[in-house]
């Protein structure tokens, strides 16, 4: 049947820019972002939705992009770590992660910041417990999490 396709045309917005692409059905959204759009910031860790390194925001909600097919993102609005800095200026979250030592090796950081961004968008004044729950799906092996939680808390408090 014609409607069953191995390659599909999709249109989506990533960090405010519209893209039209033809993608294989078996391509994940993660690989689409990294290999087609050359947005290498999003990281691939476990590839099975456990580590959160590939977390992005899709239609306002965080998802692990390794478990989403690119074709499922047809019509979606997506934010990745590349959309954080504006006009050469790091975002408040990025600055806080640096200031509080929330980054060491950096591998979890893009996904961690996306989870933090989505949390602050839906809950501008989260408690420490709510921050912990929001980033529970983002594994960090370096920091012990406390500096990350401090960084997110600092931005939440300063948000006007």
């Amino acid at each position: 049947m014609d409607a069953y396709k191995e390659n599909i045309d999709i249109t989506l917005k990533v960090n405010g820019i519209e893209y039209r692409e033809n993608v294989p059905a078996n391509m994940t959204l993660l690989h689409f972002l990294k290999e087609r759009l050359m947005l290498a910031g999003t990281k691939e860790g476990c590839s099975i939705g456990e580590c959160g390194a590939c977390t992005i925001i899709m239609n306002g909600r965080t998802v692990t992009s390794c478990l989403v097919l690119a074709v499922e993102a047809d019509g979606a609005e997506i934010s990745t770590i590349e959309g954080e800095a504006k006009d050469g200026q790091l975002s408040a979250l990025q600055k806080a992660f640096i200031e509080y030592g929330g980054i060491q090796c950096g591998f979890c950081t893009p996904g961690m910041i996306m989870s933090a961004r989505e949390l602050l968008d839906r809950n501008p004044n989260p408690s420490r417990e709510e921050i912990t729950e929001a980033i529970a799906g983002n594994l960090c092996r370096c920091t012990g999490y406390e500096p990350i939680i401090d960084a997110i808390e600092a931005v939440a408090g300063n948000k006007s």
């Binding site: 049947m1 409607a3 069953y4 396709k5 191995e6 599909i8 294989p24 059905a25 078996n26 994940t28 590839s47 099975i48 939705g49 456990e50 959160g52 977390t55 909600r61 965080t62 998802v63 692990t64 390794c66 478990l67 989403v68 097919l69 074709v71 499922e72 989870s115 729950e133 929001a134 529970a136 799906g137």
Partner: protein
Amino acid sequence: MIKQFTYFKPGTLAEALAALQTEGSIALAGGTDLLVELRGGVKSVDLVVDLKGLPKLTELSTTPDNTISIGAGVDLNFLVDHGKIREFCPVLSEAAYSIATYQLRNRATLGGNICNASPAADMAPPLFVLDAVVVAAGPDGERRIPIFKFFTGVKRTSLKRSEIVVRVEIPPVPKAKMAFLKKQRIKGHDLAAINMAGLADSGSGTLRISIGACAVTPIMLKGTDQLYRENRDVEKLAEEVAALAVNSIKPIDDLRATAEYRRDMAAVFAKRLVRKICA
């Protein structure tokens, strides 16, 4: 990494059911189980039928007789947050919240959790105690399957090849007390070693307890109503329900727990549940 397949996103139920008659086809909902299985080569498919284009699958409604109808495609965070669910079936919200992580709950669906049919499916025990009905749609129309007849084995359900679950109906719930308990090694990063849901309504003398991950399917304890009506003392009731739980399960040793540990925890959880909902 994932073997090539064709993709189809039907806009109507009829198109979806027709596509699912194709040999080698599979339904895609949230994808949090399916994509892992495709990547690992556990499953090999020729056609993925994405159900997210079917609008009715994400609806939640209440009928005039107060039956709550939950579309199979609603995601778990929707159930965590939904006011009506939190008010009338909090055990569903609690179980949903216990599953995986925030990002995964944004994708994983109620229908997917039960159709995947893991013996440890966390949404199953709450649906058992709520006496839910699974509504499946197939080429011959809709079929209503009581939840206790839905699971038939490990990763097996009573769904036919070309049927999909379209919604789950929760009959009117009395103002009962409910609770959900779950033992896992690491919150959010492991499946349940054992999970248990309970519902107690003192008015009608109803006590329902369901246990997961301790047999090939989630199970419902039989005879709890009678124990509930016979026992005025909660501690005595707790002991008797615990003994019933241990005798009703058929746990195995696996990577999450030994059978012995599961039997011990079944008794601990049963007592905890009874104290919580029958006191």
